[in-house]
């Protein structure tokens, strides 16, 4: 039996060594973190606009085909007020959301089914990766044959663009779970369903989010290609506006639409997906503190 005195000493020693081993836990305030994440991006944008302005001044191309940043941004401001651009952005984003949502469901189902079985994985694993590398524009001729010039043709290609990446994210996530976690889960009493819920899914999450992010990039690209190729009369979308602007040689309007595409892409990727990814990585200690 251990007497009280030595127990107390042990407790103190443990507390002492714990305190010595633990690092500083302080985290900068939200404002500071937001600023330190934002200013490099702002600086990069300023640099890009500066280069654009210099190229404009150099008269590399006639000014009516290559307008200055100032002209494009004032065009963008005007168009945002004229009641055409905003609904067009809305329609495009709605299409993206619809296509991505369907791709998400299909990708997760396909990925989980394939990851569960060795035979299915060897049968469809490389097939899914093959689909992923296929340029989505290559689907359009077939999509037009199947669905004519319709909303469905665009959705078809957006889904085919995004779903394989999402499915691959699920498969890679499940494949790369450290076996130690599965053993620990079994020792703790996890069985089929509880193993999925409490061990496999959370362990696969970082790679799954990677797949979601990549799927979004493919969906967005496919959508832009689709909107340029499949123009449905009477429906204004970002792609349709760009095609119109090109037809009438309206360079400022064309480039204003491009700026919109870029901004939407950056917002979704940098704010939404990167935010989720960073949170997951920080919580799991995968982020190197700078």
């Amino acid at each position: 039996m251990l007497e009280t005195e030595s127990r107390e000493r042990l407790q103190e020693e443990l507390a002492g060594i714990d305190a010595l081993e633990l690092g500083d836990r302080t985290r900068a305030s939200f404002g500071r973190r937001a600023w330190s994440a934002t200013w490099p991006k702002l600086a990069a944008i300023a640099l890009a606009i500066g280069a654009w302005q210099l190229l404009y001044w150099s008269s590399w191309r006639p000014h009516y085909t290559f307008p200055s940043p100032g002209t494009v941004f004032s065009e963008l401001r005007d168009e945002l007020g004229n009641g055409v651009l905003l609904p067009a952005i809305g329609r495009t984003i709605l299409r993206a959301a619809k296509g991505y949502a369907i791709a998400l469901v299909l990708g997760v189902i396909a990925g989980s089914v394939v990851a569960r079985s060795k035979i299915l994985r060897s049968a469809f694993g490389s097939f899914i990766t093959g689909l992923q590398t296929m340029p989505s524009v290559a689907w359009f001729p077939l999509a037009l044959l199947l669905f004519k010039r319709s909303e469905a043709a665009i959705l078809f290609v957006v889904i085919l663009g995004a779903a394989p990446s999402i499915a691959n994210g699920v498969i890679n996530g499940i494949d790369n779970i450290p076996p130690l976690y599965l053993r620990a889960g079994r020792v703790l009493g996890a069985r089929r369903m509880s193993m999925y819920r409490y061990v496999i899914l959370p362990a696969a999450l970082p790679q799954f989010v990677g797949g979601l992010k990549q799927g979004w990039a493919f969906a967005w690209r496919s959508l832009m290609a689709g909107e340029l190729l499949v123009i449905i009369p009477g429906q204004f979308t970002i792609g349709a506006l760009m095609q119109n602007a090109r037809d009438v040689n309206d360079a400022p309007s064309l480039m204003a639409s491009m700026v919109v595409i870029l901004i939407i892409g950056i917002i979704v990727d940098a704010v939404f997906f990167a935010g989720i990814e960073r949170t997951i990585r920080r919580r799991r200690g995968l982020l190197v503190a700078s």
Partner: protein, 274 residues
């Protein structure tokens, strides 16, 4: 060869071999009979364990020592039910908990979350969320980690993570704790403290321990009985009862002299493979 030779080394530790008059023989917590495990097929077959027999009494602290390839981890996996034997039987009375060299805490959960999950996954779980949290807090307090409940595992030191892993095993209410070199990756100072801590918990909570290590001193510091395994295939070649009074120190002369005896025997075993 049909049975393994079990040599009971007298050493400096056993004054007599006659058991004191204790009528009801305590139930075996672990009994392993004729256990064999082979991996691979044909010429490439590796016999990790060969007709191994072992009994561990309830409440006993047994250390398994052996050189590389003695199948220590294979044996623990079989006892834990994570793997199936090629032949032979394993019987465990009660629930088993298993601790690894790495803590195997889930990085997506907080420290308390890891302990709570163990409570939740118990087949007899009836606790609600609040009660689970309270129980987890109490278990963390028992390993002196109250105040760290909301930390993430990566924020803790290796020694602290192993204490969380201990709390998690207690959350399972394990009667038999299997430990696979749990302190192997820790620095000497932390390891000494954790030996004290483990001994304290074992004294207070009375559970059975089967502890694998290749550190002979650690075995002499902790065990009631040390079982020495041969390598490739693994079988029991010697047993050493440890009658050194607790609490022990790893640097005491008794522990050192027993460790020397066992190390000599272990080296003899290793020389056979030269």
């Amino acid at each position: 060869m049909t049975t393994h030779d079990t040599i009971v080394a007298a050493g400096a530790t056993t004054p007599n071999t006659v058991a004191p008059a204790a009528p009801p023989e305590p139930l075996a917590a672990i009994s392993v009979n004729g256990l064999s495990k082979a991996f691979g097929q044909g010429a490439a077959t590796v016999h990790a364990l060969d007709r191994l027999g072992l009994e561990v009494r309830a409440g006993e602290f047994v250390c398994l020592v052996g050189a590389s390839g003695c199948g220590k981890s294979t044996l623990l996996n079989l006892v834990a039910g994570l793997d199936q034997p090629s032949s032979g039987t394993v019987n465990v009375d009660g629930r088993t908990g298993l601790m690894f060299q790495e803590s195997a805490l889930f990085p997506w959960l907080t420290v308390a979350g890891n302990v709570e999950l163990a409570l939740r996954l118990r087949p007899d779980n009836t606790l609600r969320k609040r009660a689970r949290r309270q129980r987890a807090d109490a278990l963390l307090k028992s390993v002196h980690l109250d105040g760290f409940a909301d930390r993430r595992p990566h924020e803790l030191s290796g020694g602290m993570r192993q204490r969380v892993a201990l709390a998690r095993a207690f959350a399972q209410d394990a009667d038999v704790l299997l430990m696979d070199e749990p302190f192997g990756a820790l620095d000497a100072m932390t390891r000494d403290l954790l030996h004290d801590e483990l001994e304290r918990l074992w004294t207070d909570r009375s559970f059975t321990v089967l502890f694998v290590t290749h550190n002979v001193r650690e075995a002499a510091r902790l065990a009631d009985r040390i079982v020495l395994l041969s390598s490739r295939p693994g079988r029991v070649v010697a047993e050493f009862p440890v009658d050194i009074e607790r609490p022990r120190r790893i640097d005491s002369p008794e522990v050192s002299s027993l460790a020397r005896t066992i190390t000599d025997r272990l080296r003899e075993e290793v020389r056979r493979h030269a």
